[in-house]
């Protein structure tokens, strides 16, 4: 009830976050990584005992436009255009044959394909989710029709994705984070997870509507009750999932750090939206269509 009554406050919090995310996206944008643009990443380290890190620049290596970043106490991460195996070997020789930890090279065509497939999978997941919700809530029509449940769920999803993407635009600006296919995967998992959260709340609304078939309770009261009944569950489920993800971020391998960060942000936003945004929106939708009962 508290949540439904004070919905204006919660809408504004979401609104501010979304606007901030949009500003970040427009101002800085997301930096696509080599998964999408094509190019190479070489990560090397020098043995402390025998060799030390030389001073190199993109020019001295003959790699125009390459970015060279020092990592740890004794290593480099070099980002450059796509390198052929020969160019790669030349580069290693010029660096003094350090230990190569990682070498990724993606051709521009594969990059373009990855981008296309990413958009397609985002589109398909969204479509599947709309159809799914419409199907699940097909019998619910009183007093808010089923397609509105779907629409509200999508608003929630857009909210979560926007916040996660906005955060990465900010990180890209501050720390040079790049987005890769794993980031897109994280977005899709956020979609799946947060709809899962919203469905549980809506499910309860549906059940309470069925139990209250004579329509004795006011709709906003009923939604408020449903939110309260599922509140602990929503928070706890998100908590256990967040626990696992935070551990993954802190302890897990370097390769999945950005991935787990994106997931953590998205899932936190998702929990917020299903409790504080989607359910109150149901009440608002009911009021907008002129219902007062």
């Amino acid at each position: 009830m508290f949540i439904v009554r004070n919905r204006a406050v919660f809408y504004s919090i979401s609104g501010i976050l979304c606007v901030a995310a949009l500003v970040a996206l427009f101002a800085w944008g997301l930096k696509p990584g080599i998964d999408f643009t094509g190019g190479s990443i070489v990560e090397v380290a020098y043995d402390n005992a025998s060799s030390t890190r030389p001073v190199v620049t993109a020019e001295s290596l003959g790699l125009e436009g390459a970015s060279i970043r020092e990592t740890g106490s004794n290593g480099f991460i070099i980002r450059a255009k796509e390198l052929t195996p020969e160019e790669h070997n030349t580069l290693l020789a010029e660096l003094g044959n350090p230990v190569e930890k990682r070498f990724d090279s993606v051709g521009p065509i594969l990059g373009k394909e990855a981008l296309q497939k990413s958009w397609m999978s985002i589109g398909l997941v969204l479509l599947a989710i709309v159809l799914f919700i419409t199907f699940v809530f097909r019998r619910v029509s009183r007093p808010v029709s089923s397609w509105k449940y779907g629409l509200i769920a999508i608003v929630g999803l857009a909210h979560n994705i926007l916040i996660a993407a906005g955060a990465f635009a900010l990180f890209g600006h501050l720390f040079g984070f790049e987005i890769d296919t794993l980031f897109v995967t994280a977005l899709l998992v956020i979609l799946g997870f947060s709809i899962h959260d919203t469905i549980v709340v809506f499910d309860r609304v549906r059940e309470n509507l069925r139990d209250d078939s004579k329509g004795r309770k006011a709709f906003d009261e009923l939604v408020g009750e449903s939110v309260r009944a599922t509140f602990v569950r929503s928070v706890n489920t998100s908590l256990t999932t967040l626990l696992a993800i935070v551990v993954l971020y802190l302890v897990g391998p370097e390769a999945t750090k950005h991935f787990s960060l994106a997931l953590a942000i998205g899932i936190a936003a998702g929990t917020y939206s299903s409790i504080f945004l989607c359910s109150p929106l149901l009440v608002s939708a009911f009021k907008w269509q002129g219902g007062n009962k």
Binding site: F132, G192, A244, T256
Partner: protein, 451 residues
């Protein structure tokens, strides 16, 4: 009551067995000296170290109907060359890809343990090497066991006669058996060398090596001065044709170009594997602590159900088998947090039923029953996501994640419902004492027994 307790016990015993099967790590690392397990975990290249190559095949000059056959023979040729590198378990597979409206044929080559990309690419793209070798003196009398152990270098010595001296290779048929053969014509220098070798070694076997492996070991009957030789292995016509073409033109059956490379050093891979395993362990413990503190006895039951979930999943990773990558294990850790969702839904429902004045056993049944719809609906959305991710995966990383994630969601639905219910009913007390109310309650503030 006893029936339920026995089935719960049985469940635990089975789970323990599965857990033991999953725990057996033998054979996961190639370097392990222990006897290899029949079902090892399969580690992706990002965890074991190695090189993943994607080649684009140029099939433009081929008619559509012949493309798939050409790709198969390309894969075979590449596989033969990769084997020479001494890779333990190389993977060569044909894949179709491309942006919308175009189809591109690709060859995926995975080389565990190889980090020298140039060496690998050169080995794959090179001309087949043909050379003739003689047996070392005495090696003809090896016992079968000794032959088994001996490498080619132990048994054969090179003669210096190689494909370099080849003038031309032709496809011909044996006049008596009609079997396809490959005829070799040496140039002047090669003819001289060949004559000398055959003169000095009459009666001895002369092995013909292709890409470092013997394809036929004929015995020298007499000195050959004509500058011609014949390879009559057990060729099929197609194979002989392909070999002739390879020898003459030195090219792969379909021209290829390198489209992407991923190399992970063994140290980084090992570090990533350790980090992934640690993350999984700690995440499990963190979730378990949370569950037990908040939900007490049901929380303990959920933790056991989660342990069963882990055992079942790990066993499936071995049996399917699933190639585990860093992203895949991340997916698994993620499902650890999500898998308890069904339990939480059920427990919250139970609590409500108790609040409505139902007795414990009844509340448990009702809780499971009422929560099922929500569990089904909410997990379906994750399954849909996993399926779409799997089919539209643009990188093996994403595919690996999608498989583990999807598998995890399905298994978690099973364990949360079956395992938790069996266990919870088995431990549920019948009385209504305050202690059992507390133990089966939840949260930090004790709930009033009625409202």
């Amino acid at each position: 009551m006893w029936k339920q307790r026995i089935s719960a016990l049985l469940l635990l015993v089975i789970a323990f067995g599965i857990g033991y099967f999953a725990y057996d790590k033998a054979g996961t690392n190639a370097s392990d000296s222990v006897t290899p397990s029949r079902f090892p975990y399969r580690l992706g290249l990002d965890l074991s170290g190695g090189t993943h190559l994607v080649f684009r095949a140029d099939t433009a000059s081929l008619p559509e109907s012949e493309v798939s056959e050409a790709m198969q023979s390309l894969a075979q040729a590449v596989e033969r060359r990769v084997n020479v590198l001494g890779v333990s378990e190389p993977l060569v597979q044909v894949e179709e890809g491309g942006t919308v409206g175009t189809t591109e044929h690709r060859l995926i080559v995975e080389l565990p343990g190889i980090t020298d990309v140039k060496q690998a690419v050169d080995a794959i793209g090179k001309t087949p090497t043909l050379d003739f070798r003689l047996m070392k003196p005495g090696s003809e009398n090896l016992t079968p066991e000794e032959q088994e152990k001996a490498t080619f270098d132990d048994v054969f010595v090179t003669t210096g006669l190689t494909g370099r001296y080849l003038k031309r290779a032709t496809l011909q048929f044996n006049p008596t058996t009609y079997a396809p053969e490959v005829g070799l014509q040496w140039n002047d220098e090669g003819a001289k060398l060949f004559a000398q070798i055959t003169r000095d070694n009459v009666g001895k076997p002369l092995a013909i090596f292709l890409d470092g492996a013997p394809i036929s070991i004929p015995r020298i009957q007499t000195e050959i001065t004509s500058g011609e030789a014949v390879i009559n292995g057990t060729f099929k016509v197609e194979e002989a044709k392909a070999l002739v073409r390879d020898l003459n033109y030195g090219a792969l059956p379909v021209p290829v170009s390198l489209a992407s490379t991923q190399t992970v050093g063994a140290t980084l891979g090992q570090g990533a594997l350790n980090a992934s395993v640690h993350a999984g362990l700690i995440a499990f413990i963190a979730v378990a602590i949370f569950l037990i503190i908040w939900y007490r006895v049901p929380g303990l039951v959920a933790t056991i159900a989660l342990a069963i979930y882990v055992a079942l999943n790990l066993a499936l990773f071995k049996l399917v088998p699933v190639t585990l990558t860093a992203a895949g294990i991340a997916g698994f850790v993620l499902t650890l947090g999500m898998a308890v969702d069904a339990n939480i839904l059920i427990f919250e429902r139970m609590k409500e039923e108790i609040a409505r004045g139902k007795k414990l056993p009844e509340a448990i049944k009702e809780g499971f029953h009422r929560a099922w719809l929500s569990i089904r609906d909410s997990n379906l959305s994750s399954i849909i996501t996993a399926i779409i991710l799997y089919y539209f995966a643009s990188t093996p990383i994403v595919k690996g994640f999608a498989l583990v994630f999807g598998l995890g969601v399905v298994v978690s639905m099973f364990t949360a419902i079956t395992a938790s219910r069996t266990l919870l009913i088995a431990v549920a007390p019948r009385g209504e004492r305050a202690l059992s109310r507390f133990l089966f309650g939840s949260g930090f503030i004790p709930k009033k027994s009625s409202r």
